[in-house]
Symmetry: C2
Subunit: 353 residues, 2 copies
């Protein structure tokens, strides 16, 4: 079978390999890949800046945003041939930390988790793969075209859950949300905010085009220009760019008792001038919270499937701006300004070899 692999740590080492098909032992579900989403982490891995191969191996099969079709399932596994399913990314260490032991591997305390397609485990960018059924969430057939969005939506569902849990420290309810960044995470965060009935404002630098359109189609208000000059205070800020300047400006737009959720994984190494005294003073005098959220566990995948099932299907389909056949996989990793989510199309690619 074909699988997209990299040599972790080496830039531009990605290639399409021919590997033996996996055999599902009695405990695993065998799936065929339909769609594989591409995200910033994949591009970091391709650039040689991130990622680790499984112990004893040199290459890593890429891909962690998946949608697969079950080919064969163990008896009693609640999956049958033909079912759609999305596999989780993270796995607890065999000797789990206290969080992983509770199934909350997204809150792993010792960093010894593994991640399929990222850290010490092969990913899903292969024509076939196997997964233990407890690491799979079923996806309704109606979500065939957009089920690949379950994984990024699970990250957003976790962020929203954490915002709500942290928000419970105060008794007054949030009303206004600002989302910075109009990529897939930003737009999905805006979707989940609208599904909660909140007044959602989306900020990005695009003056027009698809991204502002997608934000407005949700019933959100779209803003662009200089974030520092924007006259808007929000009870919740979802920062989805990871850009250092935006992270600092986001805190300036926080209303009293507000919460900033950081979701962007930025790269470090560059210092910028920050008035930390003011940052500290504003957070203290206004009871502000800034927190980071990463990954997702089972309940967030379930919440993600539910959120996508309740969303407008046509709107979700517009988020997938390019479907690249596997044979032309290189094109999927070059970014175009109008890209929201690029998907590697495995289902319709087999004949291309």
């Amino acid at each position: 079978m074909h699988a997209l692999t990299v040599l972790p740590g080496r830039a531009d080492s990605a290639q399409l390999d021919l590997l033996p098909e996996p055999t599902a032992d009695g405990a695993r579900v065998l799936l065929r890949a339909l769609d594989i989403g591409v995200c910033g982490t994949d591009r970091e891995i391709l650039a040689g800046k991130y990622g680790t191969a499984p112990p004893g191996q040199k290459r890593l099969i890429l891909g962690h945003e998946s949608l697969g079709e079950v080919l064969r399932a163990p008896e009693g596994a609640r999956f049958a041939a033909g079912d759609l399913a999305v596999a989780f990314v993270r796995r607890p260490d065999p000797v789990p930390c206290p969080a992983c032991a509770r199934g909350e591997w997204d809150m792993c305390k010792n960093g010894r988790y593994t991640e399929r397609g990222i850290k010490e485990r092969h990913g899903y960018a292969a024509e076939q793969y196997t997964v233990r059924p407890e690491f799979l969430v079923p996806v309704p057939a109606a979500l065939r075209n957009v089920g690949v969005l379950v994984e990024p939506t699970s990250v957003v569902a976790k962020a929203w859950e954490q915002i709500e849990r942290i928000g419970a420290r105060a008794t007054t309810a949030a009303q206004r949300v600002m989302v910075t960044g109009c990529g897939p995470i930003g737009l999905l965060a805006a979707l989940l905010g609208r599904q909660r009935g909140l007044d959602v404002h989306v900020f990005d630098r695009h003056r027009d085009g698809l991204k502002p359109e997608l934000a407005r189609a949700l019933g959100a208000t779209y803003h662009c220009g200089d974030l520092d000059q924007l006259d808007l205070q929000a009870d919740i800020v979802l920062e989805c760019t990871g850009a250092p300047g935006v992270v600092i400006d986001a805190v300036r737009h926080l209303a009293p008792d507000g919460i900033v959720c950081l979701t962007g994984v930025s790269s470090g190494g560059r210092r910028i001038g920050v008035d930390v005294g003011r940052f500290n003073r504003e957070l203290v005098l206004e009871n502000g919270v800034v927190f980071g959220s990463v990954n997702a566990n089972r309940r967030h995948y379930i919440a993600a499937v539910d959120a996508l099932a309740r969303a407008d299907r046509a709107w979700l389909e517009r988020l997938i701006t390019r479907r690249v056949p596997l044979a032309r996989w290189r094109e999927a990793f070059t970014q175009h300004p109008e890209d929201v989510k690029t998907v590697l199309d495995f289902a319709n690619s087999a004949h291309a070899y």
Copy 2:
């Protein structure tokens, strides 16, 4: 009666005035001042950098950390002559915001709260003052010598409550706490951490002397030196210095899923070089929280009285490093390196004039 007043906005304008004694209307409790604590906010007000006089008045009576003795109370007020009481600092606006309307003026959403001795209301640094009974907490007679610590302890009790509420977002319990800063807020934060049975580490720059002694006497581990070099990760960091460099370093000592609580009100206006990308990335990849906490409402004052009642009385008394008679009030506002809490002694001062 004597009262310590300032002209807000003008440095070194403090003076001891002779003012008419207040008359308690039928709804207010009349108290005589016993002790008034001095804190950084008072020093900011004396420097002309903070504080607002009541509407239509030029001068502001100072003092927000109080311990008073009831002289006269309205009928049915649950206070009687001779009782000790501490008055709250903040008051909601007459048209309260949603938080203030719930009694949570510490979470005020519109900034229209007032504060006795700080913002638009006279303080308690007067031989007599009146307070509506709903803004008073009773203090057991046994706490006579340390009751002036109730207000700073209420700030710490709120910080701990918020840490615990925010901590409830995750299912694993915190074990190790780092407190940065060995002032009254830092030491009281360490006390409340020890009362929760946690492993408490206190950091400050003093190599020896009273502050390390007070930290160790709690059963906490004391650290000094270069915070950046300290090999310690904590589930909870209570940042009690407000120093910009310490605020940034504090985040580096956070364990996964950890919480930094900022309590120090620093002054802004100076930029320092910060690797915001790294700050953001670490918070995201480790689910970190940074939040600010200010002020306290009724339940936090009650928690503070309870915490002080359960603490070692001799230890608390050592926190009050100087008692300055009112006649020599200027001495109370100059800082000595060994100062923890300086108190203006009103009870034994009357004869000095």
